[in-house]
Symmetry: C2
Subunit: 431 residues, 2 copies
């Protein structure tokens, strides 16, 4: 016991400067102020924010300096800088500056990492310091440590997740309520689950950036965000949930990356998932991530994907990990080569002005590409002028499917553009 | 990039000796043999097992020495010893010997840890070495790293889990099939999910030992296994699932530890859980663990709880973590003070020889202890001579409930002993 205590005593607390005092930054300061048992390891020294007269909080200890001058903060030579400003500029410049002067950086900034992680990680290695980002994906869910260390012994094959709380809130509400997306989005905005402009959430940019970080964590490879195919969930209708349900499925926004040889395939967008699966059972704004390995099979992590306190826990955990290790090897993300996705079954939904011959025409286009029909579903009760029906097809290549759908979309019987989304039915990536 | 590579090159691989070549040990050797990218960090040097003539596997590299003489293995002065023999003796002696000669130890041995973790951890600190045990709880689920590091920033309040695959297999089958436990257990034995004598699984000893390890991970406190109240799932009948279902619940074997002030309350046994909760949705032999923190709320981890390859991934991950860190602070588990559980609602099931006045008599005994009835359920279709019915009571102290049940059990109308199990309905430990 004494040996242990003596060893602990010798280290000085890490001097921590906070860039940004919004929801997450405020929660970080609160945890550091409220947990006295952390005081011998972490000491909050500086808080930078615009308009500190308005921001300054009485519960922050008087030993902490507040500043609107970022240069002043850097001149104080903090041991660690927490960046919770968000966005690429000016946050990126500040992260570089911190690393260049040898400070460790803890960031929750997924957009910055998605765009510049390889360069920033390299800069950390060159300056013998650390860049940590547990808070950048799935808020409070302790993914990085679980995957990096807990699954280090496995050969990882696939990472998939529900990474955007807004989209999951919208889709899980639609699944249970038979409401149109517009109405659910209005509610989500009112409850604070969606922003005034939810495009980044529902069109997949947010989940895509998180997927880039997740792929970096799992594979130490850098997928470029513009290279990841993204589809919006905007086209999903109440009818889609009815048809999905007949197939034992529901619909979720999925972000997924798989290895194949030395290449990687990634995508973000709506997918049919089994109702009883981890994804199908995930409700509200919760996040869930599954990791499939060659030896250990599938593990799943879930929890609050966002929110100030949950994200702040991840930031403080990263700060603590800096005090635990004398030196880390550092890491680099190598470029990732994109490969086509594996053959998959797809769900095709058409909304047509009904007339004879439509099914025959669609079936012919699919047959041209060698794609086999699996099921044709048509529920009663829809108007003839805008009739939704569904065709599911057996596993096929995405390229062939794209050609078939393009040919089908050129016909004049559509009341809405055709929708094609993958069906993820729990395929084992080892087979 | 060069800086990084150079730093990696300098370290020699860790020389690893394996005690035990059963299901887990075999899988550890297989991962180390099959993943050449690990060769510069981990080198398997020795395998100890009884009867190696029979055990020796052709795919193990010829550089590995096989021995039936444990002294020979220790004389080779391995850097790390993997103990996957199981049981307290002789495994415990070997673990001590390894630590005393300065080797790091990686073990999957929950029974040994439950009995002796504080002493073994102390021995590791005193000998400036490490004891790691990611594989001892929930097999392949990367709990330790997630909780220890990923949630280090939080103040943890509660850890609860389904930690025994056999019990979960039995209960989730009973929930969906209306079969008696004996029939399901027979099937489980045939399929390899249960041992010939499943007592350690269904009576809670296995889950209890894992809970001791989990509490050590989350709180760095040592709960003594004999101090943890354990109830068997043996008394659960098909009727209980029918009644639970009417309450929106199902039944699972739960292992749980909560803090209260500076004390801890733990238990292992059957509990009613909501059908839509993480526990209620957990099927088959899968494990799931939820961790609730003051700041971050609830996180959940799930995956295969056992099996050679999944457990071996955890062992290899522990070995890799030994190569990542130059020196760990080491850890100690302090004794835990037991406190009574919080007041909870309970499910009481009686099987009686029906006659007038039974309900009045039971209600009077509950009233004597100030316990309020919540619901009385009696399903039709049962024989009068062995009539099962259920009373649920509002949140009450366990001691008071125990007294009431004792008084009720003394009556002469019972065809079976009364059953009282807690209802865990998703209470937030922060309130």
């Amino acid at each position: 016991m004494l040996a242990l205590l003596n060893r602990r005593m010798k280290t000085k607390p890490l001097r921590v400067a906070l860039l940004g005092f919004g929801t997450v930054g405020g929660s970080v300061a609160r945890i550091l102020s409220e947990r006295p048992e952390l005081a011998d390891r972490l000491q909050l020294t500086y808080i930078f924010n615009r308009g500190i007269a308005r921001k300054r909080a009485a519960w922050v200890p008087s030993s902490v300096a507040w500043t609107e001058d970022v240069d002043e903060l850097f001149r104080s030579k903090p041991d660690a800088v927490v960046e919770v400003v968000g966005g690429i500029d000016p946050a990126g410049g500040w992260v570089r500056r911190a690393l260049q002067q040898g400070a460790a950086v803890v960031t929750a900034n997924k957009m910055l990492l998605a765009a510049h992680a390889p360069e920033l990680l390299h800069l950390a290695v060159m300056n013998h310091t650390q860049l940590r980002f547990e808070a950048a994906v799935a808020g409070g869910v302790p993914l990085i440590h679980g995957v990096r260390e807990g699954l280090a012994g496995d050969r990882l094959l696939r990472v998939a997740g529900i990474l955007n709380g807004t989209s999951n809130y919208v889709l899980s509400r639609m699944a249970s309520g038979n409401e149109p997306m517009a109405a659910v989005l209005d509610d989500a905005r009112r409850l604070g689950y969606a922003e005034a402009d939810p495009s980044a959430d529902i069109d997949g940019e947010d989940a895509g950036a998180k997927l880039v970080v997740l792929a970096g964590i799992a594979f130490r490879r850098h997928l470029r965000l513009p290279d990841i195919p993204r589809r919006s969930i905007r086209a999903i209708s109440a009818a889609d949930f009815r048809y999905a349900s007949r197939l034992g499925c529901t619909i979720r926004q999925i972000a997924m990356v798989e290895t194949k040889g030395d290449g990687f395939h990634a995508f973000v967008g709506p997918a049919l998932v089994l109702r009883g699966s981890n994804f199908g059972l995930n409700m509200g704004a919760n996040n869930v991530v599954t990791i499939a390995g060659y030896y250990g099979g599938e593990n799943s992590f879930s929890g609050a994907g966002a929110g100030g306190p949950a994200t702040a826990v991840a930031v403080v955990s990263d700060l603590l990990s800096l005090t635990e290790r004398e030196r880390d090897h550092g890491e680099e993300w190598l470029p990732a080569r994109a490969v086509p996705p594996p053959a998959r079954p797809y769900y095709l939904r058409f909304v047509v002005r009904d007339r004879p011959g439509i099914l025959a025409s669609i079936a012919a286009s699919l047959a041209h590409q060698g794609i086999n029909l699996d099921a044709v579903l048509q529920e009663p009760g829809y108007p003839k002028g805008a009739l939704p029906f569904v065709i599911t097809v057996e596993a096929c290549e995405e390229v062939a499917l794209g050609k078939a759908v393009q040919e089908i979309a050129a016909a004049d019987f559509h009341a809405e553009a055709p929708l094609a989304i993958p069906m993820l039915l729990g395929e084992d990536p080892r087979t």
